[in-house]
Structure formats: C-alpha cells, structure tokens
Symmetry: C2
Subunit: 89 residues, 2 copies
C-alpha cells in the first residue's frame, strides 16, 4: 500500500468522528482550555481529553499548559479552512 495514500486516509480518519469535528469547531474562533471545551460539548472530561489527544497526535491542534489549564488551538490551517468551507455547504 502506498504510504502517501495511507497517510491521507489517516488524516481523514482523524476527522471522521463528530466529537473531534465539534472540538475543531469550538476552536475555530480561537483557543480554549479543556474545561470550556467540555462544557461546550457536554460530555465527560475523559472523553474530551481522549479526543484532544488524538487531534494533537495527528498534528491538527496543539496544547500549551498555563498553570493548571492546558490551552488548545488549531495548528493546521488547511484543515481549518476545509472544515469551514465544508460546514458552509
């Protein structure tokens, strides 16, 4: 299997979960900490953290610790624009 194709499919897999899409939408307008994201989505903290980890691991977001909080923001502008344009349809 072609590596480039596998990588592309993996990228789509990261985006294939509604919670992860929601998190990205939460972050479209700027950065946010985990608690805010959790309140926005109204799901358990461990679930949010798990998906944040997947998004971070895929290089779509990054988290910076500030005291007790970790502030997440979108890194990949391409994905940002893709989500935006697809949501606009």
């Amino acid at each position: 299997m072609n590596k480039k194709i596998q990588k592309l499919a993996d990228k789509f897999k990261v985006l294939s979960n509604p919670i992860r899409v929601s998190i990205l939408l939460c972050l479209l307008n700027g950065q946010s900490n985990v608690t805010k994201i959790q309140e926005c989505l109204n799901i358990p903290q461990s679930t949010v953290s798990k998906h944040l980890g997947i998004l971070k691991n895929a290089g779509l977001i990054e988290g910076e610790r500030s005291g007790l909080e970790v502030i997440y923001s979108i890194v990949d502008d391409g994905v940002k624009n893709m989500i935006l344009s697809l949501m606009a349809e």
Copy 2:
C-alpha cells in the same frame, strides 16, 4: 449531536480508508470498470465491490451498467479537488 456535524464526520469516514482513496485516485483520470480497478489495486473482487458500494452510497461516485460491465466515475467534484490538492502536498 448536531446533524450537520454528524454528516460532515460521515463524509470524512468514507474517505478514511486507503482502498477507497485508491479507488478515487484510479478514477481521477476518468471512468473505469470494476475489473480494471481491481487489477489496479490487486485485491479480491469482493473487496473492491464492497468499497465501490460504500463510495457510491455516499454519493461520491456513480456506476452505470454497460452490458456486463459497470462503469464507475467520480460525481462529487469537491471531493475530487480535495483529494487532488491533498495528494499534491
């Protein structure tokens, strides 16, 4: 869960499989029948047919029967361009 978000995630899910991405790449240059796609990917016929069904069901491709053959082609130009630009990266 927001319906629009679910739909978007579902769209990504269709693209999250390397065989399906490969099929779309096979079809980028034009239409093709199942046997050609199968030879291009070198995997069992039932596997190809299964994934063609998923792509068709998602509205990304369409198949037209011509005698014994079914000719598939890409319908969704947005997806076509997305794949193209992402493969170019």
